[in-house]
Symmetry: C2
Subunit: 321 residues, 2 copies
């Protein structure tokens, strides 16, 4: 049995807990958090983060379930000194820097860290590399319809906003063009729209909130954004989930005239729970590669699929190839 | 530059020729065939198969473009004695046996062969293993709408048939159920229908041809099959392409209630030309792995995606991860 630890008990941490419990070849040793007196859903031992040291020999892979903004850049390199790790670091622009730090740390400690694991970065990255390598044509990534945590947070920071959530939505006509192999270049606005649902504080200036959202640089200004003011009750009833998903679509022409279209699509009721499933499959790969003496940092691009499965490679060849 | 040779100059061989010509890091050395006096589309040197020996030091990877029924089981193990190889061996039931023979041959010769490369087996296999490893739920493979070579051949062997082609078509309602996460078990008949277009010889007994097709065991008897008799002209005009494709769809529930759906879809105007693109990307991986001293046989499940791309891994992390 592969002995797993979880660091961070938010939505992803709880998803990992469920996924490890369902894995035939894994055992959940403990859940670590900054909070004292935490109780876990599955009854697994909960420890405060300071007690991690005592588990150095008791855990094969520590799954880091913190956020990319502040948790992982600090926790990743510290934990990789003592544990093999898997994380979902998803700040695309900072991946090369984070990779280098994790790789250096792991090479020094003899531990292995799989970074940026999930569906994007993660499964979508695999598709982008596959489509690019095989077809050399263009490929497009669409996200949604789904909740963007970053954009929802941005809304909630605006004065007068009590609750807020943002859905990223692919522009249907553009998706259709891409699936038709049109190979055009699109602006951000042509690819996605942004739908916001806001509960305002009593007496707040709605027009000003709407304007603050729509004009916010980077987040909303470059998109067609709609803002819906709704009641507390409607918010709690209809916007309490974290669905997400999206598509990577590639296309090329062979022999000048034959159109070849490839598409990978995710439709997820729970973004964090699906991300957790991916983290757990890659924890299996990290365990195996570490046993072979591999250390440093890896991404999905470095890891063959046979290592994700609890089955033997010969069984996979027979049944799934 | 990676020096490539092609063995077999049918539809896939011609597709590989095009794909290698378009690859930034590859050079097409020669095309080998049983036929004397062959001229290649690109003007590449053509040689009869007997002259392969003279190329042992001139070719890094030999791409085997013969058929799975009779060519590859013989050619694969012979060629792997002298060359690194890539092939599209696609007789699912015989893959374990073929793998073992190729693996043993390669271990002895120090050469590396990637077997069963293409889209199914190949990219679809990757998806089946990924979906199974990550989600553990059910997954379904649909093929088509597209031309099945094996079924078309079966039609053409019937007395009175002058020309024949068969399209495999997924049953739409079943695809919809699967995408809805219903997780049911389906019979062959519930998954696909078979559409046949036949040009009959003059004076042939059409009813008998139709009956021979529909009652053919393994190929047609287990499916809802339609037979359309058409003219020579219509056949040549409308059925002269080899489109194919299909879908691998996975689904699971997380936390008992959240439905997660994953889908990989190919829509190909030219089955052999797309297969050729995949073969060429994996030839790149074979070249690199062989340079690292790896020998024997591998499948798509053993090969990380970074090896498929002409780009450096650090560039992939920066741009595509």
């Amino acid at each position: 049995m592969i002995k797993i630890g979880i660091l961070g008990y938010g939505n992803i941490g709880r998803g990992v807990e469920l996924a490890v419990k369902n894995a035939p070849d894994m055992e959940l040793v403990a859940i670590f958090s900054r909070r004292k007196g935490l109780k876990s859903v599955s009854g697994t031992v909960c420890e405060i983060i300071d007690n991690l040291e005592a588990y150095v020999d008791k855990i094969d892979v520590l799954i880091l379930c913190g956020g990319s903004a502040t948790d992982l850049p600090v926790q990743g390199p510290i934990m990789l000194k003592y544990f093999n790790t898997v994380d979902s670091f998803d700040t695309h622009a900072k991946i090369p820097e984070y990779f280098d730090r994790m790789n250096q740390t792991g090479k020094n400690s003899g531990k292995l860290g799989a970074i940026s694991i999930g569906w994007d970065p993660g499964l979508f990255s695999l598709m982008r590399v596959m489509f690019d390598s095989v077809m050399g044509g263009k490929f497009y990534t669409f996200w949604g319809r789904g909740v963007s945590q970053g954009h929802s947070d941005a809304i909630r920071r605006i004065e007068g906003v009590k609750k807020g959530i943002q859905y990223t939505v692919p522009v249907e006509e553009t998706v259709k063009e891409v699936k038709d192999g049109l190979n055009k270049t699109y602006t951000a606005r042509q690819m996605h729209t942004r739908e916001c649902y806001v509960v305002a504080e009593e007496g707040a200036d709605l027009a000003q909130i709407e304007n603050s959202i729509k004009s916010m640089p980077n987040y909303f200004a470059d998109y067609n954004t709609t803002v819906h003011f709704i009641s507390d009750k409607e918010f709690d009833e209809n916007h309490n989930k974290m669905p997400h998903g999206g598509m990577v679509i590639g296309s090329c022409f062979t022999n000048s005239k034959n159109k070849e279209i490839t598409e990978f699509k995710l439709t997820l009721d729970s973004n964090p729970e699906f991300t957790a499933l991916v983290l757990v499959a890659y924890a299996r790969a990290v365990y195996r590669l570490s046993k072979c003496g591999i250390s440093g940092a890896l991404t999905v691009l470095d890891i063959p699929f046979k290592l994700l499965s609890p089955e033997e490679n010969s069984v996979l060849r027979e049944k799934l190839l």
